[in-house]
Symmetry: C2
């Protein structure tokens, strides 16, 4: 039973099916002049068009990368080195992903100006501090659309508007929301957006950066003139074709699936909140359809994850990308939790394979696991 869909999802069999011919048959290098190359190039541009259409962008504004992490690095470092230290000033939210925060921390060490934007107790961006930095000389603002740990969804239309009124570009990391919520980059006013395939039933190892043609960047990966000169490296055609197929399927299926997942999510939350001393980490309405982020007093999230795993339920205590760290989650600290509260967090992220029966079973097991752990937890007696 897999409830870790925010970390990664299984590749849809229809996606894999679409990829297969590009491994052993149409295997050319999209930059080669021969027929094999031309076939590969055609598949590449058809895929680019499909994904760009889905977000209402021009195909020339979509750059394929090896991951969302790379795409976030590309926009941030690409803007920084493109604009130069004297002109560049980047502002990021404190609940952005590690790959945004660690990138700007590195840029800061190189001498670039970085500002950090606080959030409220739901993880929603606080508007006054944003307005304040915008009135300074911020050139690029980056705010995650749907947060990967707690699932809060920002009002990016409002944020983008504020950025534009102050002459600033707006970037969003939409890895968790793309393919779940409708995103029209023109309508919302997004200048740059990070997405990937493996969070939406596509393959791992492929992401993309949408970037408006008015936003100039320096490449992160130099080499040949692939991807409009913005990202060098032989094009990963099987995965790019798979990405486009995943997008095509989400376009058809995400609305109905979203309704179903919201129902399961809310059922799970209701059941979980019946457990004593249990709290929801997220805004009651402004959130992703598939994310359940809870915290349990007197417990460690890791212990709950391990015990649920023993019952056949795969969950997570937070971001998969920071599991090696013993520090409490920066997202939970940013919404104002104390470190010991942050440690008791559990993320259950739903996906299309999950049935209502699985959710009922999870709710029951969760209550049992929490009760058992609290019975033996030394933290219980400290309170």
């Amino acid at each position: 039973m897999y409830l870790d869909n925010a970390a990664t999802t299984p590749t849809d069999p229809r996606v894999l099916e679409a990829m297969l011919q590009y491994f052993a048959d149409s295997y050319g290098n999209a930059s080669s002049m021969n027929s094999f190359g031309k076939d590969a190039k055609e598949a590449l541009e058809e895929s680019r068009r499909k994904i760009a259409d889905f977000m209402n962008a021009d195909p020339e504004e979509l750059i394929f990368t090896g991951s969302a992490t790379e795409a976030n690095n590309l926009i941030l470092k690409g803007h920084a080195f493109g604009a130069g230290k004297r002109h560049c000033h980047i502002a990021v939210s404190t609940i952005d992903h590690d790959c945004v925060l660690n990138t700007v921390k590195w840029l800061e060490k190189q001498g670039f100006r970085i500002s950090y934007l606080p959030v409220d107790s739901y993880g929603l961006l606080r508007i006054d501090p944003l307005q304040k930095v915008l009135e300074e000389d911020v050139t690029l603002v980056s705010v995650v659309h749907g947060n990967n740990e707690i699932g809060t969804v920002q009002n990016i239309k409002k944020i983008a508007k504020m950025c534009h009124e102050n002459g600033s570009f707006f970037h969003t990391d939409a890895v968790q929301s793309f393919g779940k919520l409708p995103i029209d980059v023109e309508l919302i006013g997004i200048d740059s957006m990070t997405i990937n395939a493996h969070k939406m039933y596509g393959p791992k190892g492929v992401g993309a950066l949408y970037i408006d043609r008015t936003l100039k960047i320096t490449p992160l990966i130099h080499g040949g003139s692939h991807e409009f000169g913005k990202r060098a490296g032989t094009e990963n055609i099987p995965s790019i074709v798979g990405f486009a197929k995943a997008v095509e399927l989400r376009e058809r299926e995400m609305d109905a699936e979203g309704v179903r997942l919201c129902r399961l999510r809310d059922r799970l939350i209701r059941a979980a909140l019946e457990i004593e001393d249990t709290y929801l980490n997220v805004h009651p309405t402004k959130r992703l359809p598939n994310n359940v982020s809870l915290r349990f007093s007197h417990l460690e999230g890791e212990a709950i994850v391990l015990d649920l795993d023993a019952e056949g339920i795969a969950a997570s205590s937070g971001s998969a990308c920071s599991t090696k760290s013993n520090d409490p989650s920066h997202v939970l600290l940013a919404i104002g939790l104390r470190p010991q509260e942050a440690r008791g967090s559990l993320r259950l992220s739903l996906g299309k394979k999950n049935s209502a029966e699985e959710i009922e079973f999870t709710a029951q097991q969760l209550a049992k696991v929490v009760e058992r752990l609290r019975g033996i937890s030394p933290l219980t007696h400290l309170s």
Copy 2:
């Protein structure tokens, strides 16, 4: 008939077979704590061990990337930003790949010291200029092992020894030679090496950087603590498993296959050199087993490629990565060809699917195509 194996190769069906289960069954995030994550992590570390073993490295010294281009960017920028402008001085050969040369050109613009090492008319690194920069304060030397256009193979053991005697690190881009020639990083004295999967019957979208533990670098892609903190991003398990399977197959098959390819290569070269005004661009013995790099007076390589393609033969005029550029190849200029000579180049790169019959057919068609084109070429009458 595919003679563009230096650009990319078909994925071996046995490689694809090994990958399949990691798309839809064992699809966990290798950084997740649950059972799905543990299975993925196990596949990751088993793959890392296999590839490291093959080159006689420790698994902890192998960093997976999204491409060889990324790996070359990682070592060069990682060393530059790690050492800092005052201490870093990088020397690269003038026949290295665009992704090395364009990376150091960018570093040069950022204020880093870069030296360029000339080669002789075969593309072999000239030793005196190397010795001279080593006696200055070069910190890292990067020389491609097997050149991608002309196929010249460098004496990297000697180059590495010279580097070490002068306190310099040695990096090599072994994309074209890895899996074709035996490479023992300990024996040769390689401190860092770039490889990828798709040039050796593995999938596109995955490469690796071997890096000796004494060589410290700054990450190129910041984020989570994946890959020993040196390359962030969700691990691309299906492709990494495919990479390891491709290595396993090369380990068993490359020696016999190499002998067979050398025979076919030499047969093709002999036949081609019977065509009037035709020259070999490469050293007669120090070269890759599968590369045939020719030039034909009074002709454009692109025209030959297109005409061969019409006869069902996929070839290349040079590097796939620079086909968009109209400039003559930097490699051919570096070995001393005049621009008009460089334009008449053709690369036929063999692979395991090629039969003796295909090579005979190619030799015949090549003679016909060259004759026909020379009959209509305006360049013929200029000489």
